[in-house]
Symmetry: C2
């Protein structure tokens, strides 16, 4: 990979930023696709978000942006159009510049999880889901699970009101899925997803008390930095199918590459965005 004056830019924004893996992963994928493009890390100190982002989006050779913590909700207004998922969840994790210069926003966190589930050969239709965490990742995953036809989602979050608000928004979008905030674990779940930060720190246990799991239970965890987490270990002891944060991350990458499509963009651009 060579950076030239004609190289097209993609950026990942976050605070902090040094820990992200996307620059290596996507810059390699861009090269493999034959695109003269790189993905660079941009450290956006939170207090400077409002001065950095409009400037970033105005750069003539920037074609796409990935968004990580803590900016997924804050970046939403910078998209001129949103997918239904991003609109419903109120957050984006990827934006693409269209040939007319406008920006499209998508939220791939849930898409990556669903892809990872399918890559394991598991089905989602009709599942009864217990979800820990009603934040950005939980919202995105719950949205895609509802879209994939799960039967019910019980949402647990230390901030009960946040869980109630998410359930309400999702129920409006998917009236046939039973979605509700839950103060305790339901008894009939056959899928468990941890979308909370529990499991990230040493000594963290599981996000909630869980007893014996039936072997057909599907267990997922968004934690990337620790693998396997206590939850995933518990699931493996019960011969459950597991989807880790790393599986979910891999699932996202393919979907985001298709969204960015750097080589096709280079071949077909009419120069309007240049």
């Amino acid at each position: 990979m060579n950076i030239t004056g004609a190289t097209r830019l993609y950026a990942i924004i976050g605070d902090p930023i040094a820990q992200v893996r996307s620059p290596e992963v996507f810059t390699d994928l861009f090269a493999a696709a034959g695109a003269n493009a790189v993905l660079i890390p941009i450290h956006v100190p939170s207090a400077r978000f409002d001065s950095i982002i409009p400037g970033l989006m105005a750069m003539g050779n920037l074609d796409g942006v990935l968004v990580t913590i803590p900016f997924k909700a804050r970046m939403r207004p910078f998209a001129d159009r949103l997918t239904a998922a991003a609109e419903c969840i109120g957050a984006v994790n990827a934006l693409r510049r269209e040939t007319d210069g406008s920006w499209s926003g998508e939220m791939f966190d849930g898409v990556g999880f669903v892809r990872a589930v399918r890559a394991k050969g598991a089905t989602l239709h009709g599942r009864r889901v217990l979800m820990f965490g009603a934040g950005g990742a939980g919202s995105a995953i719950a949205y895609e699970l509802a879209a994939a036809g799960v039967d019910s989602i019980a949402i647990r979050d230390p901030d009960y009101d946040r869980a109630v608000a998410l359930a309400k928004v999702l129920h409006t979008a998917f009236p046939s899925c039973q979605i509700a905030a839950s103060a305790s674990n339901p008894s009939n779940e056959d899928m468990i997803v941890n979308a909370s930060p529990v499991g990230m720190r040493p000594g963290d246990g599981m996000p909630g008390a869980l007893g014996t799991l039936a072997p057909g239970t599907l267990v997922g965890d968004v934690i990337v930095s620790v693998s396997p987490t206590a939850l995933i270990q518990h699931a493996m002891r019960h011969q459950c199918t597991v989807v880790t944060g790393r599986d979910m991350h891999a699932g996202q990458i393919e979907a985001i590459m298709r969204f960015f499509a750097p080589a096709e963009r280079e071949a077909t651009t009419d120069g309007a965005a240049r």
Copy 2:
């Protein structure tokens, strides 16, 4: 070279940008110096300069900026401190973030030219210079020539008032050097510098009528895209020492690398700018 989340950023800004060579050159030099840093091209459409630049300079992992046409004068206010040359000329072509987060600005166009002259084994002290072009490059080169002890500089520019203004500013900075705008070629010059755009387009001749040149005449040209230019060809026919735009460019690179010092910066930073 690998881009990671911890990679430090340097940028070159210009409009247009696709033609610049600095991203390849500096990214290779950074790697050779053992620094985890890249230099990326940023296309700043002129009309969006005011929204892009403050955002760019606020990025937490941006350590330096190179400036090309047409922004060298416009970038000056973004430096918190300037070298004497940049202050006098009113333009910068490189900015560096200091560990306290402030920005220092320098103008290397003239420095690169003087280095290239010295690399050819030529001396500058006492020279009588005829200079074509009183724009950004001409100003920077004239400043460094005066600083290097040339005897006189006659400045020719289609915009005579611009030449007068430059002569006035430089004469204040270097009272012992005879600097004046000139409506015609003086007769006793032993150094000729083209810092005008003449020579860049096919069919361009020399920037002014020049007859036989004495062999000791030193002839320089800032044009990079065409080599040799009509002026350089004329000088070579008369066995003069020549300094091309590419020589000047090479002279700048070493000076700018010393200014950016990406590896030393990585080793000594206290994290204040991160």
